[in-house]
Symmetry: D2
Subunit: 137 residues, 4 copies
């Protein structure tokens, strides 16, 4: 469960702003892409979770931006589970700018587990098992 | 039907890129916002159309960028119907940068009319009526 | 300084995701738009700040999502200063969904004050004055 | 020069809209990512072009959307040069949804070659050479 997954992403031109850096809101898309990779490394996809009738909407986000991320930089988003509660999960993130070698950003997102009706439910045991599986390498 | 509607939009920082201009893909969001305003000026909303079981997905887009649009500029998107076919509608756009006074962009989008199942259907007569109504001022 | 400014924003179709809600990353664009409005209410623009050689990059963001925001909803972003330090400013946000009447989101962003070279500097007194001015109504 | 380059992209959740498909404006980001890959396949990067003082802003875009692209689908963007003029370049695109096997989108973008001052210039011979190089495989 605590084994991090790493997702590499190349920064798009449209993800920069006139300051010449990646716009702060775009990290949310990168965090999301990392969550997808995290699932995939454990043998399932977030898409499958939704097809099973579940959703994991973001209910809280925090990010601290320390270093620069620019166009065409390759970032590595490290993602791992911070905490898993009865009906909620916290993902932790660390963004390393591989082009500059710097750790540039850290953050977390909290998600609740909801059924199709958008009702918060306890994480079903079979899903908990899928999530606690060690990643395949 | 041919009466243009005008939607004013202030350019966001996150809509610029490191070239210092609005990123070319963001005009698609502005065109969409203008379509929403076009409906509203005729007494209905695109949201209501979807609630009635219809959708108008974009099947073609064209845009020509002539002038500059920068952060904090106010643009006026003029939108009008170019053509209405049995199951398809073409919207035309002209973007005026009110901050500089220039006509900066022109474009069009083609949409098909689909029912909930994503099946293309003839535009129902009552919807056609709604769309052909002169705008309220 | 503590007087809130309110910025109304209508949610775009492209700001939703397949869950049917506004995507969590798009709130960052709305927070930014609210910052622009906050400056404008005090008689200057963020653009002018940049033209004077200053920038206010985001160094930290936090948001808690409580309620739903959907396509075409009108949200009101209330923004005010939480704290002002020697070289840093915290903006606070509260998002009210005017379509549903719910308070849906709260958040903050921390910004540092940098000169053109991206060097952190003390907020110049004349800028501090501009920011501490009561808003014009 | 006419050899296509292929860039594979996995669709992000935030790139979908409430219709359940990728939002039409996001193809512009994918086209841009494909342009970056096209340069890279020829031994240079678009970033380097900008560092040399050149820019290639988009002056026209066209896209036709035929098939569906959904969350988590992997698309392959085929990109090749349509036409190269004295001061302008046309890129052609074909998007294949590898998840469904369908050709979903075709499009083009026109770019002008500008120097730092945003003045349109003839494509310098050394740049033309870089662009006409056969891709490295």
């Amino acid at each position: 469960m605590s084994e991090p997954t790493i997702e590499r992403i190349r920064v798009r031109y449209g993800e920069t702003d006139q300051m010449g850096h990646a716009y702060y809101g775009n990290y949310m898309l990168w965090f999301e892409q990392a969550r997808g990779a995290w699932c995939r490394a454990r043998g399932f996809t977030y898409k499958e979770l939704e097809e099973m009738g579940y959703k994991l909407p973001v209910v809280e986000v925090w990010a601290k931006y320390r270093g620069e991320v620019k166009y065409d930089d390759v970032i590595a988003v490290r993602i791992w589970i911070g905490e898993m509660r009865r009906a909620a999960i916290q993902f932790m993130y660390e963004v390393i700018n591989e082009t500059t070698g710097q750790v540039t950003t850290e953050g977390y997102t909290w998600h609740v587990f909801v059924a199709d009706s958008m009702k918060v439910i306890s994480i079903p045991p079979e899903i908990r098992l899928m999530m606690e599986k060690e990643p395949e390498n």
